[in-house]
Structure formats: structure tokens, C-alpha cells
């Protein structure tokens, strides 16, 4: 019948009134990113990093700045390890290519500052990020697992905020 298409449409739209809204109320209902979420706030382990700069070479935009200094024992001390998040497009190539698993993606996504230079994270901050993503680091993909142990596995111990339970013990 003529007009049935329009009536059908009207009824379908009416049917949706009762459904639970699909949108999430963002600040209150925080999204739980999946284990492999590629976000900002990179994590970095100074113990594992050898300063080979593979990550810096892999970065398509050249966000990573590394300055090393040779040590007498044949290794390098890392003087500067900066990531310019303002240029970063979170492609994850730096994390993938790292041969020593020293670099980690983060799980943050809201990134707003007043100055562009605040977006550059330095060696001191980057080692102490609490939430690391499991992108290319399978041990981190299970968010329920105890984080401290996983960090110890990966040698990301420096400056990591201790879980609340441990703090109480201490």
C-alpha cells in the first residue's frame, strides 16, 4: 500500500524509544580501553633500553629524540629520551620495532595542554607511567593481572606507582 513505507519508518523510529541509549556518558562512564589500545603516555624502561635508537628511526614523523653517551663498560648512558606527543600519531611502530621491549604504548587518550612544549615528554616522566598498554607487549594485555609483577618482568620498575595494597603494607 502507498504510504506503508513512511508508516513503517515511523513505527521503527518509535520502537527505538524504549531501547537503552547506546552512547556512553564519557567522564562518568569511563571507557575501558582494550588490552592492545594504542594511546599516549608512553612507558619506557631505562634498565632495558640500550640507546640503539631503532624507535627513533622507525618513527615516521621523527618524534623521538635520543642522545646517548658511551659508558666505559661498552654500553651507552641515555642522556635524553624525549617523545614529542604533539607530532606523534600513535602508529605504534616505535614499540613494535624495539628489540629490547623497552618502550610501551600508554592508555591515555585525552591530551590537552596550554603549551605545545608541554606535550614533549622527557626521560624522567616517561619512566614512571602507571598505565601501560599491551600493544606488542602481550603480558600487559590482561588488565586484571597484577601489574607490579608484569612490570617486574619487563623491568619497568623505576618510579612506578605502587598498587594500593602494597602501599598499605609498607
Amino acid at each position: 500500500m502507498v504510504g506503508s513505507g513512511i508508516l513503517n519508518g515511523l513505527l521503527t523510529v518509535l520502537k527505538h524509544i524504549g531501547q537503552k541509549p547506546y552512547t556512553r556518558q564519557y567522564p562518568e562512564e569511563a571507557l575501558v580501553p582494550p588490552g592492545r589500545f594504542r594511546g599516549y603516555d608512553f612507558g619506557w624502561s631505562e634498565e632495558r633500553c640500550t640507546g640503539c635508537a631503532t624507535c627513533a628511526k622507525a618513527c615516521p614523523h621523527g618524534c623521538i629524540d635520543i642522545v646517548t653517551d658511551p659508558l666505559p663498560n661498552g654500553r651507552y648512558s641515555i642522556e635524553v629520551f624525549d617523545i614529542d606527543l604533539g607530532k606523534c600519531m600513535v602508529c605504534g611502530l616505535c614499540v613494535e620495532v624495539c628489540p629490547y621491549d623497552a618502550l610501551f604504548m600508554g592508555t591515555k587518550f585525552a591530551l590537552a595542554t596550554e603549551n605545545r612544549w608541554d606535550l614533549v615528554v622527557h626521560k624522567e616522566d616517561i619512566g614512571s607511567r602507571p598505565d601501560l598498554s599491551g600493544y606488542y607487549r602481550p603480558a600487559f594485555q590482561n588488565h586484571a593481572a597484577p601489574r607490579a609483577e608484569m612490570r617486574a618482568d619487563y623491568g619497568v620498575s623505576k618510579g612506578v606507582a605502587k598498587p594500593a595494597a602494597e602501599e598499605k603494607k609498607a
Partner: protein
């Protein structure tokens, strides 16, 4: 409601001119308040209803359930810088938003919300209401032309063509009502409906035509071609900002309310509720019906795509106009024969369905029940 009480109490003590002034002022304030409150409520209702239809939450930040959102919007819009673009006709440009607000406001002044509760209770209120409906097109053209923008001019031209076309079936659909009741007074129409049954049952064809033609005058989808945000960006008010824009915005909603109120007066029995539920005050029923009709308008807006200009015109001239003429003839014939109400209702309902279905067939391919095209064809040679 207050006015009869005033007249009854002070009628003998005060001179006539003072009484008229007082009652008029009270009525005007009441209508103004109702219009503005309705416009604000309408914004909230529409946003909330549409978002629920679209599986979203809608406004829920400002106030409980987002109830204060319209006020926040109003504050924001009024607080914006009023930009007057280069090359506009300043007088016309500034006058248009104020004039456009008049039409729904005056319409509300004529609508009887309860027995004797219309601010202006004249004997030709139906005629006035129809004339006011057409008034809306003048400020739209003023705005569109004065804005010195091709999009707004296009919107204005579309608006004129559309309103002129739809005004005819709109008025003709009301002739049947007048034939039956023999009065041009809105209150008489309501009283007749309370006595004999609502016109939506007695003259369903007229009701359908009035609803479609009325919604066409409201510039809302599916007939919002004068605004058509995906084609003309915003149509006639594209160059307005700040307070002037807020007037256009408020007018859109109060206009919907005015038409809803008219439909409930003309076809849904106004304040009448039939034999039941007479305990609730009449004005509550009237307002309830108006708000429900508004929700129907929101519903159609959330669903239907927009028609093209020529299709919309064709619909008015080829579909609504002949049907409204047929409606007048049938109603006049029934009145001449003096048929009882129940027979009239049944005959008219059957007639409405048959006419609508048959007339869409006449319109050609648009009316045909659509054929399903075949898209999957197995390739002749297997890969």
C-alpha cells in the same frame, strides 16, 4: 478563566474601557508567558524525544534530566555577538525576526484554551487564524531577501512558493467544518465537536489535509525545504546570529505549538474530553492535546527525509487540493441530506481511505507500489 471571574466580580463597579484593558492585559501576559514557556519546553521535548528515538541520551547535563538546557541555550545564543553582515538592508534585516514572532503569538491569542478563555474572542477567529498562518511568510521573505545571501534568498523563494501552495488546501480543508457548524468562531467549533463528536472522526480527510498542509507551513521535515540544512545550510536565517537568531529559533517552536493548538481545537475537540473525565479542568486537556500533537510533529521530523521542491509543489496541487475540494462537496452533500452523525463519520472515514489510496495511484509512478529491483545476478560464466 480569570477574566470571567474579574468581569463577574467587578463588572458592575468598573467602567467598560478599564475592564477591557485589564482583561486584555492579563490575557496578553498569559499568552506571552505560555508561548515562551512552550517554546523553551518544546526545545527540551524535541531534543530529548529525538535523541531517545536515536538511541542517545540527549541533553542531560544542565539541571535534572537536562531540563535547564533550553535556558542555557537561550543564554548562550543571546550572549553571542550580533553580527550584521555587509550589504544587508538594515531596517528589513532587523525587523524580520520581530515580525516573524508575531504570527504564532497572535494565533495563541485567538485559540480558546477553555470556554471563553480566548484573549480575543471574535466571531471570525477562524478566518483570522488562517490569515495569521500566512503572515509568517512575509518576515521569512524579508529575512531572506535582506540578508544579501544567495542561500537565504533561495530559502525565501522556496518558502513563498511553498506557503502559497499549501495555504489553499489548508483553507479549503476548513471549509467543510464551517459548512457543518455554520460559524467562523473557534469556540463554536469546539462546542459543536463536544456535542456531535470530534471532527477527526467526522471529517478525517480534512484532518489529514490540515495536518499535512499545516506541517508544511512550519518548515519542519519532511517539508522544511526553505530551511533544508543539508542543501541551503540554514535557508532564510543563515545570516542571523545572537538575539535575532534566537527569535527565529523560538518562533519555529512556538509556531509548531500554535499549529498543534489549532489542530486540537479544530479536529480534536479542543478542551472537550467527551463524556468522561470532566473533573480535570478544560484547559489541562487542551494543553495536553497540544503537547501530544507537538510530539507527533517531532516524531515525523525524526523519521522522514525531505522532499524536493517540485515534488512538494506537486503534492500540494495534485493531491491535497483536489482532495480538499472533494471533501467540501461530500460534506455539503451530507449536510444537505441531513444524515445522522454516525453515518457521516463512517462514510467519511471510508471515503478518506479510498480517496487517499486511489489518488496516490493517479499520481503516477510515485504512487505505485514500488517494484523491487534485482541486484544479484549469477555470472553467466563461472569464475
Amino acid at each position: 478563566m480569570i477574566n470571567p471571574w474579574i468581569i463577574a466580580t467587578f463588572g458592575s463597579a468598573l467602567p467598560g474601557w478599564l475592564l477591557a484593558t485589564i482583561t486584555g492585559a492579563i490575557g496578553t501576559v498569559a499568552v506571552l508567558v505560555f508561548t515562551l514557556v512552550s517554546a523553551l519546553a518544546a526545545i527540551w521535548i524535541e531534543r530529548k524525544l529525538i535523541s531517545r528515538m536515536q538511541v542517545r541520551y540527549g541533553p542531560n547535563r544542565v539541571g535534572p534530566k537536562g531540563l535547564l538546557q533550553p535556558f542555557a541555550d537561550a543564554l548562550k545564543v543571546i550572549g553571542k555577538e550580533a553580527i550584521t553582515p555587509f550589504g544587508v538592508d538594515k531596517v528589513v534585516y532587523s525587523a524580520a525576526p520581530f515580525i516573524i514572532f508575531l504570527a504564532p503569538l497572535l494565533t495563541f491569542g485567538l485559540v480558546p484554551f477553555a470556554p471563553g478563555a480566548a484573549v480575543l474572542n471574535t466571531d471570525i477567529s477562524l478566518l483570522l487564524v488562517v490569515a495569521l498562518g500566512a503572515l509568517g511568510v512575509v518576515p521569512i521573505f524579508m529575512a531572506g531577501w535582506a540578508s544579501n545571501n544567495k542561500y537565504s534568498l533561495m530559502g525565501a523563494m522556496r518558502s513563498i512558493a511553498q506557503t502559497v501552495s499549501y495555504e489553499i488546501p489548508l483553507v479549503l480543508s476548513l471549509v467543510g467544518l464551517v459548512v457543518v457548524t455554520g460559524s467562523l468562531k473557534l469556540e463554536d467549533l469546539v462546542v459543536y465537536q463536544i456535542q456531535h463528536g470530534w471532527f477527526i472522526f467526522l471529517q478525517p480527510l480534512a484532518a489529514v489535509i490540515f495536518f499535512i498542509a499545516g506541517s508544511a507551513e512550519l518548515n519542519r521535515t519532511p517539508t522544511d525545504i526553505m530551511e533544508g540544512e543539508s542543501e541551503l545550510a540554514a535557508g532564510y536565517h543563515i545570516e542571523y546570529s545572537g538575539f535575532k537568531f534566537s527569535l527565529f529559533y523560538a518562533t519555529e517552536y512556538s509556531h509548531v505549538f500554535a499549529v498543534s493548538a489549532l489542530i486540537s481545537v479544530l479536529f480534536l475537540g479542543g478542551w472537550g474530553t467527551g463524556p468522561l473525565l470532566d473533573l480535570v479542568p478544560a484547559v489541562v486537556w487542551m494543553v495536553l492535546k497540544t503537547y501530544l500533537l507537538f510530539c507527533v510533529f517531532v516524531w515525523t521530523r525524526a523519521t522522514l527525509p525531505r522532499l524536493r521542491m517540485d515534488q512538494l509543489m506537486a503534492f500540494a496541487w495534485k493531491f491535497l487540493l483536489p482532495l480538499s475540494l472533494i471533501n467540501i462537496m461530500v460534506v455539503a452533500l451530507e449536510e444537505l441530506l441531513g444524515l445522522p452523525g454516525i453515518v457521516v463519520a463512517v462514510v467519511n472515514m471510508v471515503l478518506a481511505v479510498v480517496l487517499i489510496v486511489q489518488w496516490t495511484r493517479l499520481l503516477g509512478s510515485n504512487g505505485q507500489s514500488p517494484e523491487r529491483r534485482v541486484y544479484i545476478q549469477r555470472p553467466a560464466t563461472a569464475q
